[in-house]
């Protein structure tokens, strides 16, 4: 049974002065997330990622379509006992301390006082907020608030966790910690769905991704499948090539690059066979043939053309 | 960041000087505004029904506000009278009317009106008719309060209508808790009209029946006035005797003392000497608050 299943989920907003014009924020989105997966939601601003999460959390209501969380329909509020959610750029009650806030969240799950005390301490430790736990949230930095957000998403030890832009506001160290946390959660058998703009994280973390643009699904699947589908070239690595070989390769390939005693030729899939044959003919030593993965950025740019490409965060 | 030792003294200086200036200018404003504000006061007084309607249920509080205004109005005009002016007390009835419409149970307002609306100038507007109107309103709203009948009887008495006065005392005597001697007073007033003895009894009862300082003071002034009237009658007899004896009217009290008619300079109930005027009339000290029919104070 999939942990999360969306079927033709659609959301229209009525805009305009008389609220007559429908603006489609999500267009018949269908996907399924298996248990234990780390699933990425990707797309430029306005793609519908946050809209999807808001629909799943019942913060807004769908125009049509359905969804199932852990096998339960959308209007089952009780399934939220097993769900955690980190909103984008979260804002919490600034008159509470982190400890009080987490305790409040825990109360909403009906945990006993001892359980609450234990879980809250654990989580504060886990997200690195033990020292600041008793300061009011109004004094917290963006990064600290992000950690509180992660803590409150995990307070009930959920089976399915939604994270809307979890790396936002964190420094590189923090991002690594969150990354490790997500991997740890997967090891515990939890399912994680997160939306992000940080492409390298997607590449390292996600099993599968859904790529959204303007409310529509543009791609769904394993990342390397998606990217390989568009793999445009291969790299042929040759050791100690003779000049003749180098010249021959330069004629075939659309890019040749020398690095020390090695030669790297970039060829299209069509040119690949010819290039390998060329190396064999010249008696060169073929070290490797690797497909060039387009980066996600390339994929985006290519797919969405001149549309806005999500900003790359610093690669850590 | 300006250090404290620099801005504190400057702030204090500016605060004090500025504050003093504001106070001074405000005083000027008050002075120049004075007549304007009073006129506004006199021009606009809403009708009682509308005030009640607009009070949105907070009429008890508003009644206290209008009561305070009524008392202040009376006090201000009374002061003017004692300074020698001729005040009108124009708003007294209206303010009391509004007060009692807002809170029909504010008993003191009716009694205050009874005493002071009847008071003849300069101490009041001299309008017993308005006093009666107010009291009848009070009786309608508080039928078991016997004192209103007393006050009504007293208003008629002071106005000289002994018939109605007697009737009021009589009706009031029937009410629960009424003073027993009201019945006696009813009969006597009907039979004999007004005299000093009855007035004294009536004013004493007013004095004892309230703890409102204004009413008590007025009662005492009236009682003192009755004493003054007695004194003046006595003194005038002595003056006549002196004139008969010596053939000339006395010019000073000393002459009477030397003639053995007086033991000392005659003093009014407050302890001030009576003034013997050139035309032979006797007056109280100037600015005396005593209400006497025979001796003026100016």
């Amino acid at each position: 049974m999939p942990a999360l299943e969306l079927t033709e989920l659609t959301k229209d907003y009525l805009v305009g002065f008389w609220r007559k014009r429908p603006k489609r924020a999500l267009d018949h989105l269908s996907l399924a997330v298996e248990e234990g997966e780390i699933f990425g939601l990707l797309g430029p601003n306005g793609a519908g990622k946050t809209t999807t999460l808001k629909l799943l959390m019942r913060l807004i209501y769908p125009t049509s379509g359905t969804a199932k969380l852990l096998g339960r329909p959308l209007d089952d509020v009780d399934v939220h006992r097993r769900i955690g959610f980190l909103p984008e750029a979260p804002y919490f009650y600034d008159y509470l301390t982190a400890r009080e806030f987490l305790d409040y969240c825990a109360q909403l799950f009906g945990l006993t006082r001892d359980e609450r005390r234990r879980r809250v301490s654990e989580l504060l430790e886990r997200v690195g907020l033990k020292e600041a736990a008793d300061a009011a949230l109004r004094h917290y930095s963006r990064g600290m608030l992000q950690r509180v957000g992660i803590a409150q998403a995990l307070i009930n030890d959920p089976a399915l966790i939604f994270l809307d832009d979890p790396m936002l506001g964190l420094d590189p160290v923090g991002r690594r910690e969150v990354r490790d946390l997500i991997l740890e959660l997967r090891r515990q058998g939890k399912t994680i769905v997160f939306s992000t703009h940080i492409l390298p994280d997607v590449e390292t973390l996600c099993d599968r991704v859904a790529i959204l643009n303007r409310g529509r699904l543009h791609g769904l699947g394993h990342l390397d499948t998606l990217l390989k589908m568009r793999a445009k070239s291969h790299e042929v690595l040759v050791s100690e090539p003779s000049d003749a070989l180098a010249a021959a390769l330069a004629r075939i390939a659309h890019g040749v690059h020398r690095a020390g005693d090695k030669l790297n030729a970039t060829v299209t899939p069509e040119q690949l066979f010819a290039a390998v044959e060329c190396v064999r003919q010249h008696g060169g030593r073929l070290l490797a043939v690797t497909p060039v993965h387009t980066s996600l950025e390339d994929y985006f740019f290519e797919t969405f053309g001149t549309e806005k490409v999500p900003e790359l965060a610093e690669k850590s | 960041m300006i250090p404290a030792r620099r801005w504190v003294p400057i702030a204090l200086l500016v605060g004090l000087v500025g504050g003093a200036a504001v106070v001074r200018v405000q005083q000027q404003v008050d002075a120049s505004l004075g007549p304007l504000q009073q006129e506004v006061d006199e021009l606009y007084l809403p009708s009682p029904e509308w005030v009640k309607r607009l009070s949105l249920g907070y009429d008890g509080l508003l009644a206290c506000v209008y009561w305070t205004r009524a008392v202040q109005h009376y006090g201000r005009h009374r002061l003017e009278a004692w300074e020698g002016g001729r005040p009108s007390y124009a708003l007294l009835y209206s303010l009391l009317d509004i007060t009692t419409t807002l809170d029909p149970e504010l008993l003191l307002a009716y009694r205050f009106g009874a005493i002071f609306l009847t008071e003849p100038p300069p101490g009041g507007p001299g309008r017993p008719d308005l006093a009666v109107k107010l009291l009848e309103k009070g009786i309608a709203a508080n039928p078991d309060y016997w004192r209103f009948w007393y006050d009504l009887g007293f208003v008629y008495y002071r106005a000289g209508d002994y018939q109605k006065s007697s009737e009021a005392f009589h009706t009031g005597a029937e009410r629960p808790g009424a003073l027993p001697w009201m019945r006696v007073m009813a009969a006597k007033v009907l039979a004999e009209g007004g005299d000093r003895e009855k007035s004294r009894a009536l004013w004493w009862e007013v004095y004892h029946s309230t703890d409102d300082k204004a009413i008590q003071t007025s009662a005492l002034n009236h009682l003192a006035g009755l004493k003054v009237d007695e004194d003046v009658e006595q003194l005038q007899k002595l003056l006549k005797r002196y004139e008969e004896q010596t053939g000339q009217p006395a010019r000073t009290w000393q002459e009477l003392i030397q003639a053995g008619l007086l033991r000392g300079v005659p003093l009014d109930p407050e302890g001030y000497p009576y003034r013997l005027m050139p035309d032979g009339s006797i007056r109280l000290r100037p600015k005396s608050r005593i209400v006497s029919t025979l001796a003026r104070s100016d």
Binding site: L59, V77, Y95, L96, L108 | L56, G57, L108
Partner: protein, 258 residues
């Protein structure tokens, strides 16, 4: 303690940490204290002034609290999006509304209690030791509390769909209109056209009748309060407040959060 209780206590905690509250209470107590001074102007009405002014002060300061905090109850959470984290937990929308209402109600209870203590302190100072004549004032204060709950419910309702400024204006406007109700009924009888009379009578029943609860004038004169009135006013308050809160639940339930 259930989810509604958790939300209520959290709301209470929020209002207690709102410093505006303390200022209002101090002002109210000051006002009650100065009522003693006002009384000096005309003795004989001192108690009258104290009771009238004291009860009015409790009403209006309580109303200020109910409105200032009530208008933000739901609006703030929607605007600041603290609701995102909250509703992702197994919290039903109606539980949220009820919890918010209960929290502010609790705050009002504490504040009214504090002001009542100040009020009676002043009363005992003037009137001396306690006696049965002091009891009607307590009933009057209970009625004031019912008014405040009603005002809170209205502020809460507006908070679900309107900005704070408009919510404050609407709530206060309804308070004024509701205090005007008896006069509305009287006016309707004086009106010539029967259709207008019908409209005004309908309006009379539709508006929240705050006038019902205003007995300070009578109480100041020591009149007792008939038990039937207590019962009826309580029922009216519960009923009307319940309807308003139910409307708030409905509106909030269907609302797409931004």
């Amino acid at each position: 303690m259930g989810r509604i209780g958790a939300i209520a206590l959290n709301t209470f905690r929020e209002t207690v940490r709102e410093r505006v509250l303390y200022n209002l209470i101090v002002f109210a107590l000051l006002l009650i204290g100065t009522a003693i001074l006002f009384g000096q102007i005309s003795i004989g009405v001192q108690t009258l002034i104290l009771i009238n002014l004291g009860l009015t002060a409790i009403t209006f300061f309580g109303l200020a609290i109910a409105i200032f905090i009530g208008i933000g109850l739901v609006y703030k959470e929607m605007d600041k999006r603290t609701l995102y984290a909250l509703l992702s937990k197994p919290v039903r929308r109606y539980e949220f509304i009820l919890g918010k209402f209960a929290g502010l109600g609790l705050t009002l209870l504490v504040n009214v209690a504090l002001m009542t203590v100040g009020f009676y302190a002043a009363l005992f100072y003037i009137r001396g030791a306690s006696g049965p004549e002091n009891f009607p004032s307590l009933v009057a204060i209970y009625f004031i509390f019912l008014q405040l709950l009603l005002a809170t419910a209205l502020a809460l309702l507006f908070s679900c769909f309107s900005s704070p400024v408009l919510s404050a204006a609407f709530t206060f406007g309804l308070f004024i209109a509701g205090s005007f109700s008896t006069d509305l009924l009287a006016l309707s009888k004086a009106v010539q056209a029967p259709w207008l009379e019908g409209v005004m009578r309908a309006l009379y029943y539709a508006l929240p009748n705050f006038r019902n609860f205003n007995i300070s004038t009578g109480v100041a004169h020591g009149h007792g309060v008939p038990g039937v009135l207590v019962l009826h006013n309580t029922l009216y308050a519960l009923l009307y407040t319940g309807l308003v809160v139910a409307a708030a639940v409905l509106i909030f339930q269907n609302r797409n959060l931004k």
